[in-house]
């Protein structure tokens, strides 16, 4: 289970960032006191526009960054207390994470398996299962540089899953993928869910959320403005679908000058 309680994240802004954001503020609150729970055997989605705080939340859950305030518990472990143990339990994938293109898929997966403390035999077995599932086997001895974008995305997925994590965290799982690769990824997420894993994803694509997620949390400007089953949220807001519900929430909670245009 993942439990996020009163989580906030504040970034210090450098001169360059202040200039880019056109602000005089020396800090930016990326996430503002959010709380939610996600359970084993479900897919929980964080939905929101770009810059809403989804990636910051997932990065904090995966221990890449530290929370400014609040508590984040992954499978009973506080992310600030035992980072190593949290990393053992999670598989995190985002487009920002890349693989060294000089190596082969076989070596890359073996290397990350070793870093996760897996035995060689276990790595071999697990790698073969995943390579077979994602049709990577025949390319496993080629250099990553020679693979297609879709194949590299699938390989990244394998790298994040090699240690058979209890919790799978995906930041925009289908972003930039071709339709076939995207289908393979979403199918595998369903497969993981069926095997009792907890999956938490972030997305700004309503279709993905509707199709994949059991429950969602909608983040706008760092605040969690709604959470629960999609049907419950739609019913509460008297919206015909998730997109309609999202824009109603957006209109209410967005503070930008563009608000009136929606």
């Amino acid at each position: 289970m993942i439990e996020v309680v009163d989580f906030s994240k504040v970034y210090r802004l450098g001169k360059k960032q202040r200039s880019e954001l056109k602000t005089q503020d020396k800090t930016k609150k990326a996430v503002d006191h959010i709380s939610f729970k996600a359970h084993d055997g479900e897919i929980f989605g964080l939905l929101g526009p770009n810059g809403a705080g989804k990636t910051t939340t997932l990065r904090t859950l995966s221990t890449l960054i530290k929370p400014t305030k609040g508590t984040l518990i992954v499978q009973g472990i506080d992310v600030t207390k035992d980072e190593k143990e949290v990393r053992r339990k999670i598989g995190f994938l985002t487009n920002e994470l890349k693989l060294d293109k000089h190596f082969t898929p076989a070596y890359t997966v073996e290397y990350f398996g070793q870093l996760h403390g897996m035995k060689k035999e276990m790595i071999k077995k697990r790698r073969q299962e995943l390579f077979d599932y994602f049709d990577i086997t025949e390319f496993q001895q080629k250099k990553i540089a020679e693979l297609s974008t879709g194949m590299i995305q699938k390989l990244s997925l394998v790298v994040s899953l090699i240690h058979d994590p209890e919790v799978v965290i995906f930041d925009e799982p289908t972003n930039g993928l071709d339709i076939i690769t995207a289908k393979a990824v979403t199918d595998y997420l369903q497969h993981l869910k069926a095997s009792g894993k907890l999956i938490i994803i972030s997305t700004h694509i309503m279709n993905v959320a509707e199709k994949l997620c059991d429950r969602i949390g909608i983040i706008i400007e760092g605040k969690l403005v709604a959470k629960g089953h999609i049907e419950e949220i739609c019913a509460e807001l008297e919206a015909s679908n998730l997109e309609d519900a999202f824009f109603k929430l957006y209109q209410t909670h967005h503070t930008d000058v563009m608000k009136g245009a929606i």
């Binding site: 999670i90 890349k98 190596f103 990350f112 870093l115």
Partner: protein, 400 residues
């Protein structure tokens, strides 16, 4: 886990032909070609000067001089002193190597030595021309002193009575030096400088790519998501880079050794140097190895720290350049210093190691000096490692 990280880093370097070529083959090949070529060219130049028969023009030459110089390996033309200006132009243009002007009444003055003023012989030469400079040296220090000796012999019927003593005419053991130390003296001029510059350059090329490159390409964050300590990742990078830097330096060192037959004069700044004379004790080799390892540790630590802090390979390169200049200045210190190395020098990181290598080659490095420079270096390496680890734990630095 440390070994897994080191293995991956080394695999990254040694399976990449481009990196292998740029880190090991190219520097060694460049050094070998450059030093062999320069050494050969300097040798050829010296040979050419030795073989060249200089053209010497002489005005007012006395008969005794004409007789004396006949046996010498110089081409002589006797001219009238009225064409002095033309001859000077020839010297300027390199057509004539030397112009000697004897006074009009040279022989008369020699004969009337008790009452007459000593005649003064004028030599005109062009110091910017090697042949002219060499001809001047030959005449000034060899031929004319011998001619003077002939005149004095004629004057006094022999000059033995005017010589109080000779120097090292029969002494075959003039050089009192420990075995191999003379060779070390030659090597101590350039070797510490070359070794330090090579070690830093070897680490710099790959070091930037190993950390700043990984950050820029986004492959570092993938590593940070594994349950490996950041300290282990940092240490793995530093150690693997150290290994690469040492191998790179060894390749270049090998190239220097291979080029020694041609480049001995160039490397030893005119002093004697040959491999046959190198006879260091096992302890000397161990001390040299330890000094090189700690020096590499400092270089790699500095390069890694800068690479971690930098946001891109380009930025890291910009930050490292001033440090490279400082390393070069420290390295050159051995070439331009003489006399005993003061103890305080060994307390200065990098510089202390450069002096230690020099003193080791001279067989004059004490255990105390060795201990100080190694101790200071290890302290600095530990400080750098601490900072690198802190940087690895800093989300703002690691995730830009």
């Amino acid at each position: 886990m440390l070994l897994v990280v080191i293995k991956k880093e080394l695999l990254r370097v040694f399976t990449d032909r481009r990196l292998v070529f740029s880190a090991f083959i190219l520097p060694a090949l460049s050094i070998f070609i450059l030093y062999s070529l320069m050494g050969r060219m300097i040798g050829n130049m010296a040979e050419s000067i030795d073989e060249h028969v200089p053209l010497v023009k002489v005005a007012n030459a006395p008969e005794s001089f004409k007789t004396h110089i006949e046996a010498e390996a110089v081409q002589v033309e006797y001219i009238d002193s009225t064409v002095m200006d033309t001859t000077k132009v020839e010297i300027l243009e390199g057509d004539t190597e030397l112009f000697i002007v004897f006074p009009d009444i040279f022989e008369a003055n020699i004969e009337a030595y008790e009452v007459a003023t000593k005649p003064d012989v004028d030599l005109f030469y062009n110091p910017s021309k090697e042949y002219s400079q060499s001809a001047k040296n030959l005449l000034e220090y060899t031929i004319l002193p011998e001619y003077e000796e002939t005149l004095l012999t004629e004057r006094f019927g022999g000059i033995a009575a005017f010589t109080a003593f000779t120097i090292n005419q029969e002494n075959q053991e003039a050089k009192i030096v420990e075995a191999g130390k003379e060779v070390g003296f030659g090597l101590s001029f350039m070797m510490p400088m070359l070794l330090n510059i090579m070690l830093f350059a070897g680490a710099m090329g790959i070091g930037i790519d190993v950390i700043a490159g990984e950050k820029e390409r986004g492959t570092m964050a993938t590593m940070l998501l594994t349950p490996v300590n950041r300290e282990t990742i940092a240490m793995g990078k530093v150690l693997s880079l150290g290994i690469v830097a040492v191998i790179s330096a060894l390749c270049t060192f090998g190239a220097i050794i291979a080029s020694l037959p041609n480049a001995a004069n160039l490397l030893a700044a005119g002093n004697e140097v040959s491999l046959a004379g190198l006879a260091f004790s096992p302890m000397d080799y161990i001390m040299l190895l330890v000094i090189l390892i700690v020096q590499v540790g400092i270089f790699v630590g500095l390069i890694c720290l800068i690479s971690v802090i930098a946001k891109s390979v380009k930025e890291a390169g910009t930050y490292i350049s001033p440090i490279y200049i400082l390393v070069m200045i420290s390295a050159f210190a051995t070439v331009f210093t003489s006399g005993d190395v003061k103890m305080f020098n060994y307390f200065i990181p990098v510089l202390g190691n450069v002096f230690a290598i020099k003193e080791l080659l001279l067989r004059e490095l004490s255990y105390m000096e060795f201990g100080v420079t190694v101790g200071i270096s290890i302290t600095l390496i530990l400080i750098l490692l601490k900072f690198i680890t802190l940087a690895f734990n800093n989300e703002k630095i690691m995730l830009n």
